[in-house]
Structures are given as C-alpha cells and as structure tokens.
C-alpha cells in the first residue's frame, strides 16, 4: 500500500503538471456578502394534458398455473388444473382463482373464486382477499363468501388460508401452501399441500364434517424460463373422516397415489 501511495503521488505529479501550476488557491478569495433580501418567482403549472413523468400505478395483468397436469396411477388418469390471475395495481387487484379435476368425463373439486385483493399494512408480503367462491363442476353448485390471506410468509413459504361462509351458517376453510426449493438455479423441488375443512356435511357433494381432503405432493421442474417450466412429480390425494365414510359408501376410493406431469406457466 505504501508503494501505491508513492505511485499515485508521483504519477499525478508527472502526469498532470498543469495541476501544480494552478492550485486551487489560485481562485479568487472568499467574498463576504450582506444578508440578502427575499426572492420569489412563480413556476408555471403543468398543463392538464401533460403525461405523468412516471407511471408507477399502472394496471397490469397476471396469469399463473401452479398445476396444469396429468395424473395417473396406471389404470386411472385425470387432468388437474389450479391457476390464478389478477388485474390491477399495487393496492387494488381483482384476483381470480380456479381449480378442478377431470376424470372419466366428470369434473370434481371445481372451485372458482373472484376476490378483491389488497396488501395488508405492516405485513410485508401478505395480501388480504375478499369476495365470492362458487363451486361449479359436475356436482351441485354452491356459492360462498370468501375471506383470505395470500402471500409470502417468513422463510419463503407461500401460503394461502381462506375461510368461506354460506347460507345456514356453514363454514369452510382451506389451507394451501408450497415452498420452492432451488436445487439448482433453474431446477426446483416444490412440496405443495392443500387441505379443506367443513363445519357441516354436504352429502350431495360427498363432503363430511371436519378435515375432508388433502391433496399434496412433490414436484420437480426445470425453468427453461421463469414463465415456462415443465415438471414431474408425485401426488397423494385422499379423503378423511366423514368424507371418507361417504366415499366408501358410494364405492369410491379414499386415497390415491399418482404420478403427475405438467407445466408451470405464467404470463
């Protein structure tokens, strides 16, 4: 470091002789001045037709699919989707979610939500959401009011608990979450789970009280780009408690282990 200093001084001295010839003190001396009077000028106002200098509140749209996949365990195959999207600004969004599963021409678990979304103050990465959920699939239709939270919890957990209410004081809850574990920069291992709870049975839809079903799995995907990542994985889906009883009564399986393949998409 010492030699650096020498180098620097020497270098500057040789290189820039004119600096030496004109030291800063060649400037005129300081000039004291008296206390000055006030000044004021008017600034022209921007015309109404001028654009904003930056557009930080513009409306964007977003669509993403966390599951767009085929599921199979050999004899049985089904198609599953779980996607969401929004349109809006930082503070006001219309948020739409849709999921369902199609097997043998029958759609089940069809759940579609239309929510108003807004960030929760003081909670960095979570939004609250309120709106409506409609169950539209091959079964009887149901409509719910929905209130939930969605976002990033500490330690990079994505989670999404939602409560639902419909006529007759029926209450339901759903807990969804996933975690993106980066194996490599583009290779992601994603554990994911979804659970549903109901306060009262709904026989027509095969739903019992308490924890009704779990759908969870592990997927491994490769991000060719952030917007396009094919994946494969394993999923367990099962029904529990009274719901399982209903399933058994109607001769349906109460649990399935399946291989899945699909793509993660967003735009």
């Amino acid at each position: 470091m010492r030699s650096n200093l020498a180098l620097q001084l020497g270098f500057a001295g040789v290189l820039l002789p004119s600096f030496a010839a004109m030291p800063a003190c060649a400037q005129a001396p300081e000039t004291p001045v008296d206390a000055p009077p006030a000044t004021s000028v008017d600034i022209p106002t921007p015309a109404p037709n001028w654009p904003k200098p930056v557009k930080d509140n513009r409306v964007l749209t977003f669509v993403t699919f966390d599951q767009l996949e085929g599921r199979t365990n050999g004899p049985n195959t089904s198609f599953r989707w779980d996607g969401q999207g929004w349109i809006g600004t930082d503070f006001n969004k219309l948020w739409i979610k849709s999921e369902g599963i199609v097997s043998n021409g029958v759609t089940s678990d069809g759940d579609h939500e239309f929510l108003y979304d807004r960030p929760i103050p003081h909670v960095r990465y979570l939004d609250w959401q309120a709106g409506a959920r409609v169950d539209i699939d091959s079964g009887p239709r149901r409509a719910w009011l929905a209130l939930g939270v969605q976002g990033l919890a500490p330690y990079f957990f994505n989670f999404e608990p939602t409560f639902y209410v419909r006529d007759g004081g029926r209450v339901a809850g759903r807990l969804q979450g996933y975690y993106d574990l980066y194996l490599r920069q583009r290779l992601i291992l994603q554990p994911q789970v979804e659970m549903n709870f109901y306060s009262q049975p709904d026989r027509a839809r095969g739903i019992g009280t308490g924890l009704s079903d779990i759908d969870g799995g592990v997927r491994v995907g490769y991000q060719f780009s952030r917007k396009f990542a094919p994946y494969i994985g394993y999923v367990y889906s099962g029904v529990f408690g009274q719901t399982a009883t209903f399933s058994r009564q109607s001769g349906e399986p109460t649990g399935a282990h399946q291989f899945v393949f699909g793509i993660w998409l967003w735009h």
């Binding site: 470091m1 004119s18 005129a28 000044t39 960095r124 990465y125 990033l152 990079f156």
Partner: protein, 642 residues
Amino acid sequence: MPVSRRGFVQRIAAAGVAALVGGKFNRADAETITHSPAILTGTHFDLAIEPHEVDFTGKRRKAIKINGSLPGPTLKWREGDTVTVAVTNHLPEATSIHWHGMRIPAEMDGVPGLSFAGIAPGETFVYRIPVVQNGTYWYHSHHGGQEQIGLLGALVIEPRDKDPIAYDRDYVVLLSDWSDTDPDTLNSNLKKQSDYYNYHKRTAGTFIDDARNKGLRSTVQNRLKWGRTDMTPTDIADVNSSTYIYLMNGNPPDANWTAQFNPGERVRLRFINGSVMTIFDVRIPGLPITVVQADGNCVQPVTVEEFRIGVAETYDVIVQPHEDNAYTIFAQPESRGSYARGTLAPRMGMTAEIPPMDPYPHRTMADMGMGGMAQMKGTKMSGMSSDQMPGMKDMQIGGNSNNSMPEKKGMDMSGMKEGDLSAMSHAHMDRPTEPLNDQLAGMTPFPQPGPRTTRLMPPPSQMMARPTQTREGEVPLHLGPEVVMVAKNTSPRLRDPGDGLDGNGRRVLTYADLRALYRGVDGRPPTREIILHLTGNMERFIWGFDGRKFSQAEPIHLKLGERVRFVLINDTMMEHPMHLHGLWSELENGSGEFAPYKHTLIVKPAERVTYLVSADTPGRWAFHCHLLYHMEWGMFRTVIVS
C-alpha cells in the same frame, strides 16, 4: 455541421486553449475511433429520433437511433455559447431528451410532465440552452423505456477558460446495457416476479458448498437469518447478464471498441454510465487510472486501479501508457456475469488479455442496516487504514467548519451505533429560508466552480446558524406495504468502495477520495435539512421515498435561493444512484469547501449520505433513482424551486 469551423478554431485560439494541449490543436481530428458515434460540434444541432432494428445477439430487435446511430452522436458544446438543438420525433410515440447534469432553464430539461408535454410523433422541439458549465455529461430520453433501447448519447462541453486537465487524446467511453427483451416486458416481469432475472439464488448446491466451507451450523444460521426476512444476499442487481449484454460506445465485447494512442501520450477517457440498471466496476489492467473529473466537475487528481461508476455518473480519467502494448478497458457490472470491454492500443486490431471476472458479490447484514449482527461488514469500514486513503488522513468525514454535519447523527465511520430514530424525519417544508442577496440573484444559476469563481460567504452571524429539521416527531415514515424494512444502523459508507469491491487487492476509488479542484461557490450554511428515506418493497417491486411512491407523494418545495442539506437514508439493500435535476448536489464527504459537485450519487445499502444544494434555479425538477425500473415503479419526486 453547418457551423463555421473557422469561428470555432478562432475561439479556441482566443481562449488560449491551444497552449495547453501539448501543441496539438485539433484534438477532435486526432481521434481515430472505430465504431464510435459521430461527434457533432457547433451551436446548432439537428437530431432525428428514429425507430430502427438492431442485432446484437443474433436476433433482430426494435431499437431507437439518433441520426442513425446507437448510442446517438456525441455532442460537443462550448461553455458560454447558447446552443439550439432541434429534436424531431420520427417514432410512433412521444419522446424527449433530457440533458443529464446540465444547469439549464427548467423548461429545457426535457422531462415530460414536468418541463414540457414531451415531443409528439412527427413534431420537432427546439431546445435552447445557454451553456453555463463545462465537463462531460450525457443526454437520454426521459420517456418510459426508450433509454433502454438506444435513446442516449454523450455530451462534452469544452471549458471557456483554460482546461486544467492536460491530455493528448480524448475519447468518450459510453457504457450501456442492452436487452433483447423490450423494456415494457422487462418492466412488468419485474413487477410480477421481482427476482425474475436473479439466477444467483441460494440453492441446495450453494448450501452444500457453504456448509463444507463455513460449517453446517453457521450456514444454517445464516440461511435462517436471511430467510426470516424473505430476502436474499444474492440480490445484487434486479436486471443483470441473464438478459443484458453490455456495450461500450454501442459495441458488444466482441466488437472490441478500440481507442488508439502513441506510447507516452496522455489519454483522457470520459467514462459515462449510460445504462439503465447497471452499476459498473471499471479498470484497465496494467495502467494506473487518474481520476480528474467527476460528473463534469474537476477533482483533485487521484490515482486508482479501479473505480465504480453508478448509473448516470461520469468520470473523466487520464491514463498514460508508456509501452507499445494493448490494454483492455474492462467494465464488469456489479452483478458480474458478463462485461463491457474495449481496448486501448497503439494500432488498430490489437487485443489484450481480458481479466477474469470477480466473484459474485453477496449482501451482508450491514447492507440490511443490521450491522450489529453476525457477518457484519463494519470491520471493513472501521478497518480502513490511512495509507489506503492518500490525502484523506486529516479529514474527518462530515466534519468541517462551515458545513458541519449535525452532531448526534452518528456520523462516526466505525458506525453501527443504534440508529437515532428521532432523526428520521421527512420532507416537510415551512421553515424560514435564507433569502438570496442581490448579487446572487443576478447570477442564477450560480456559476460552476472554476478558476475564476469566488466563494460567497454570509456574514459571520449567519455562519453559526443551525439548520432546522424538516419535521419533528417519531413517525416519519409511512410504513405501509411499500416498505419492508427500515435500516436500524445507518452510517456514511463513503470510504467503502461498495459491495463486491472490498478486499479485492486493488486500490478502488471511493467517494471519500473526491475533492473538488475548485472551491464551491456557495459558502452559506444550510438553513434546512430535508431528510428522505429511500424505501422499497423488493418482493412487490414498489420503490419510493419515505414509504411513498411518486403517485402517492407531494412535491418537495425549495425556496429560490435557499441552501439546504439533503440527507438520504437508504433503507433498502440495494444501491440507488440518486439524481437531482437542474441543481448541483455537493457531497459532504469531508472535503469542506472543496466538496465535489455531483449530479448523481450512489447511496449504498444502509447508508446515510448528505449533500448540500443551492436552490438557485427555479422550476419543477425531477429527483429520482436513476435505475430506470426503480424510477418507473415510484422512486421519483418532484422538487419545486420557487
């Protein structure tokens, strides 16, 4: 150019400039440059802004050229002239040109929405600019993403007086970043997934590496610490080489832009960072670099091996190669990954070795304003030995007779004290202002410091005045979803070269090294302090001041003629190159009356930077982070001087 060459030469002769350049009269003619933008001289310029296609990567992409050139032509003006620039817009959308760093009438500043309506398609706007300063500057669009796709160029202003910088060769080195992704898509990608371009995440692979090198326990602890905040230490640049290539005077690295010299000659390189999101670390292996000008203002020469140049900053440097060798001009972004490169060579066609890139930097807990925690970086600041800082030994950062820092602000370089919450206030304006005197009023804008300028001093009674705080109280910040953190420990990190540069074994320029060649012209102490937190929510990609983005905030008001201190506190973990239009920002780096005049200042993570501003030019001025997509998502304010 239609301008009379004879008149130009006569004026040079009259100014006695010829004597200073070592007998070489025609510097411009002496330049032998390959693939550089044209140099236009004179007092009237016609610029045509046109849509074009370019192919930097094998894909044809939409771009903008000015007079057929990307970057646009280098404009050479002369201090004292009044220049007219007729800008014709051939784009299908509105456009603008902002003259970065220029002290000009507000209506000529070129910010749509503040200075004017913008230039509509097919229209011509004539800028009329009295040139009252000299040095190296640049120009660019202030319209959405146009700057990203080529609407920029260099602006060189020759001094009216003798140039204190002696040189034989003169080259502009304009650095920029190019993406094949159009700016609107890039902008919305960041909004929808803020880590879209970060391919340096922590992975299972890096976990294993870290566990092997640093131990499992400390690796787990470190991951948990960062995980708790949902932030990542690999968050260096929001946009990086996963989509960018880096250009030097419009040339990708392989094109090897070359500047010629004869051994022994003094070569002036005017570095301009014209990129939209990229902070560069520049070096020329084998050559000491003597920095002689920063942001258009002469500084006392300081010789380094490397310097960091923030977006929109300029540094003029002198190098003097004695050997008949080629040297690589190497500019690696802070986020590494790729580089801009050119060559200094005695003959065209030569190349020199391209150095390996430095390791990818990592943020530390000090960058998060949590310096008391493990992994702290404070050692770097307090551990700086004086022989690394030639000429700085006697200086106290922030301490000086007539522009002293407010005490109690924790300006201690070893820093890391518990933050002073009560000092975190907010721009709020009603205080008495120090009126302007007649003499000053007739001189607005104040002259750029030069060999003939004087330093104006108020009577001693006013020298003792303490600036008023702009707001009392303890809840200065709007802590909504726009803010994810408030740095607990902030300090000036002026002797810190920055993340990725510490401990690299090279002598790197720091802001503490910048000492103006000429005394500042305004010796009055500030009457007010405007304290602004730079805030953001990385995940939501919301940026702003004091927790508010532009659309949520009121303008900052300055009274014409008043002298104020800006205090910027960076509560984010990224650098923000802050640019105040129309007025100089005199960095309080311990140089006292030789404080460097800047137009753009990097504020490091968890840093507190202060500078003085003379509000000497009325108008609506933009004040913003010069990272384009931070500005676009809210880190922008209007400053009204009236």
